[in-house]
């Protein structure tokens, strides 16, 4: 077990923050930054937009959020030039989080409502096809990624139906639509990569997932196994408890 040190810094590659931010993605970034800060560490945020090139040896954590269809189309075209770097980063053990539109672009392919096919990063073995209705509402899932059966709560709003190939789901749907409203899977994960439809945003009410990604990122940069010091999560747990009631679970 490696102790974390005040000098430790996580290098974040934030992809298209000006376009892919529709469901409060900035909240997830604020959680990364603050939970490091409260432990005496820091987050170094690097923003990447259309035309920028990404050096996979330079980042410990990657983030891609959701956008409106129009922005997602633009981003998909540009991602083709960044896909090799993102896959190399994942293969190298960097932590990556793809949320909402992000998970659709992390797969092999996204077919829009008009039938157009957008190539994705291919970092997660999945495909997405836009449906005629949107899957909208509060959602709770159960994941085993950070201990057995940890509940993750959020809100989903997506037209895409995602089908997994040879990749594990991020979690099993307790209540809500999930990847495709049929197979009870939600999101996808491999190595230190997570893709999910859950926003709300995801991390403030699910600090265990935030800390999992941060420990992965620190392990990527500094090696060894990292266990983060606990924080006072009273407010986080309280908001999580209220969100649970929105899918009919007890407070």
């Amino acid at each position: 077990m490696n102790p974390t040190l005040p000098s430790h810094t996580v290098r974040l590659c934030h992809l298209y923050p000006e376009r892919m931010n529709i469901y409060a993605d900035r909240g997830n970034i604020a959680v990364f930054a603050n939970r490091l800060k409260w432990r005496g560490m820091s987050l170094e945020i690097r923003e990447f937009t259309l035309g920028d090139s990404v050096d996979p040896s330079d980042h410990d954590l990657y983030y891609l959020g959701g956008g409106q269809d129009r922005d997602q189309d633009l981003v998909a075209g540009d991602l083709a030039h960044k896909a090799d770097a993102l896959r190399a980063g994942a293969d190298d053990g960097a932590a990556q989080l793809y949320v909402c539109g992000g998970i659709q672009l992390a797969g092999h392919r996204y077919q829009t409502a008009s039938g157009e096919s957008l190539a994705g990063v291919g970092v997660l073995d999945l495909e997405t096809v836009a449906g005629s209705t949107r899957l909208v509402g509060d959602i709770a899932i159960s994941t085993d990624l950070c201990g057995p059966s940890v509940e993750v709560v959020g809100y989903e709003n997506h037209a895409g139906r995602t089908h997994l190939g040879d990749v594990s789901p991020f979690g099993q749907v307790i209540s809500g639509h999930g990847n495709n409203d049929a197979d009870k899977t939600e999101g996808a994960t491999r190595d230190r990569v997570i893709g999910t439809y859950l926003h709300g945003p995801l991390l403030p009410k699910n600090p265990q997932i935030a800390d999992l990604l941060l420990s992965w990122a620190l392990e990527h940069r500094y090696g060894g196994r990292v266990e983060l010091a606990p924080l006072d999560d009273t407010l986080e747990k309280s908001a999580h408890a209220v969100a649970r009631t929105r899918v009919g679970l007890d407070r």
Binding site: I22, R26, Q68, D69, L74, G137, N157, P204, L235, R246
Partner: protein, 474 residues
């Protein structure tokens, strides 16, 4: 035969509903009327000899409707309007129901002025055939209900295409400062009559386009849009960095608007003429509402002849007398203190309200109320897109309440607020007392509620005898 009976039945439902105390009876008769007589809107609206004005926006439609009603009355029109919040198709039907009651000829100069929900605009326009369509802004709002902004833009494009094809002239009064809206209106064609309004006071420009911007990319060429400056959210003096797309020349503009927390003086240019509106409606958003209303008034009145200085000064005086609609900058005295209630349910609305609050001398006392019921939007993630940071810096105390107060508390925590100044009080009644109790004598407590939270607050204030029952307001 059925059509002749329908208004009577619907009105009976309305009075029963009012007596049962359900929703004030504002739209239930409209629902019944539409079911019994689907052509009711078309036929009743057709009796208005001066036609109808419809007003739609993400933010500001209620206040702007009040402004247009007051201006039109001052110009001598006999005005039919819908009640605040009853802005779906059935709300317009309920308003027109009152016309059906009058068997005699309506007076000359009968005009309808209707606030219409963004998603109901296409349906209302196709039936009411308005002569004036006021399009004010579209911001991201209630994504769980509307889907993406693009969905609404597409519906509005279809609505305008249909409106242009309708018999009789149509004037569109549109916000030139909203890049999405301006490009949408221009895409309809050159033969549509447009009055463009916007802002031209660089001193009220923002340092940067707000985080929650929905117009960063040119709709013609996909290159970035530049705002020089941005005024409010993505509203501004915009231009594409690549092609010739830019803000249309303004017909009516805010020449200057300098607001305190309690009102402002707005200098307006309308064509060659200048007017000054001194108004209790604070904030730049209300300056936009005022120029939109000037545009609507001129569009209505130009059928009686070209606008002259007399009618414009009549409009300016009338607009200055319009009081805040409930929850929209409304002020309520409570003992030696005062509440200022600023409703908003999307990032741009709250950002603008925060800006208005910060025009007050510091420190400020805040009661923020977040609900997640249908009318608020079930998805509360939008509170993360609000720029709370400047408010947190100036807030002596932040009292949080509402069904999702816990989410607000997290937002404050991750914005590095001093959490000893932030308190969550679950019950709205107790939260109000906390906020008032912690504020000094003669202080104003600024309340930032979502829609249903504002209704909850009004119920409390009504219970304490501090405001009249909202349904009795006209």
């Amino acid at each position: 035969m059925l059509a002749a009976v329908a208004p009577t039945v619907a009105r009976a439902v309305g009075s029963l509903s009012r007596r049962l105390g359900r929703g004030g009876g504002t739209t239930l008769p409209g629902v019944v009327l539409l079911r019994l007589d689907p052509d009711a809107i078309e036929r009743s609206a057709g009796r208005l000899d001066a036609g109808s004005v419809v007003i739609s926006a993400t933010n500001g439609k209620t206040t702007t409707t009040r402004l247009v009603v007051d201006a039109a009355k001052a110009l001598g029109y006999s005005v039919t309007t819908n009640r605040a919040g009853s802005n779906l198709e059935r709300g317009v039907a309920a308003a027109l129901l009152d016309l059906g009651r009058r068997r005699a000829e309506l007076p000359v100069g009968s005009l309808g002025v209707f606030e219409v929900d963004e998603a109901a605009l296409d349906a209302v326009v196709s039936k009411a055939h308005p002569r004036v369509i006021v399009l004010m802004n579209l911001f991201r709002d209630q994504l769980d209900r509307f889907g993406e902004l693009e969905t609404l833009l597409e519906r509005w494009r279809q609505m305008l295409t249909n409106a242009r094809a309708q018999p009789g002239p149509v004037t569109v009064v549109a916000n030139a400062d909203d890049p999405n809206l301006a490009e949408l209106v221009r895409s309809i064609g050159n033969d549509i009559d447009v009055i463009w309004f916007g802002c031209n006071d660089a001193t009220v420009g923002l340092d940067a386009v707000a985080h929650a911007s929905d117009a960063t990319t040119c709709r013609r060429c996909d290159h970035p849009i530049r705002h020089d400056p941005a005024y409010l959210g993505h509203l501004g003096a915009w231009a594409c960095t690549n092609c010739e797309a830019q803000r249309p020349p303004l017909d009516i503009e805010i020449v200057s608007a300098s607001s305190t927390a309690t009102g402002q003086t707005v200098k307006v240019r309308a064509g060659e003429q200048h007017i000054v509106v001194a108004t209790p409606l604070a904030g730049l958003h209300n300056a936009y509402n005022i120029v939109a209303a000037v545009g609507a008034a001129l569009a209505v009145d130009k059928r009686r002849g070209p606008a002259d200085g007399t009618s414009l000064s009549t409009v300016a005086t009338a607009l200055g007398r319009t009081q805040p609609a409930f929850g929209r900058g409304e002020r309520v005295a409570i003992g030696t203190r005062e509440l200022s209630i600023l409703l908003a349910k999307n990032p741009t609305g709250v950002n603008q309200n925060i800006r208005t609050v910060l025009a007050a001398p510091d420190p400020v006392h805040i009661l923020a109320m977040l609900n997640d019921r249908t009318a608020d939007g079930r998805d509360v993630s939008w509170v993360w897109d609000v720029d709370w940071e400047p408010l947190i810096e100036r807030a002596q105390r932040l009292t949080l309440t509402g069904d999702r107060a816990g989410d607000l508390a997290l937002r404050m925590k991750y914005a590095s607020a001093d959490m000893s100044r932030v308190v969550v009080v679950d019950e709205a009644d107790a939260a109000l007392d906390d906020a008032l109790g912690k504020a000094p004598d003669n202080a104003t407590v600024h309340v930032l509620p979502t829609y249903t939270a504002m209704l909850d607050l009004r119920t409390i204030l009504t219970g304490r005898g501090l405001v009249a029952d909202q349904w009795d307001e006209t």
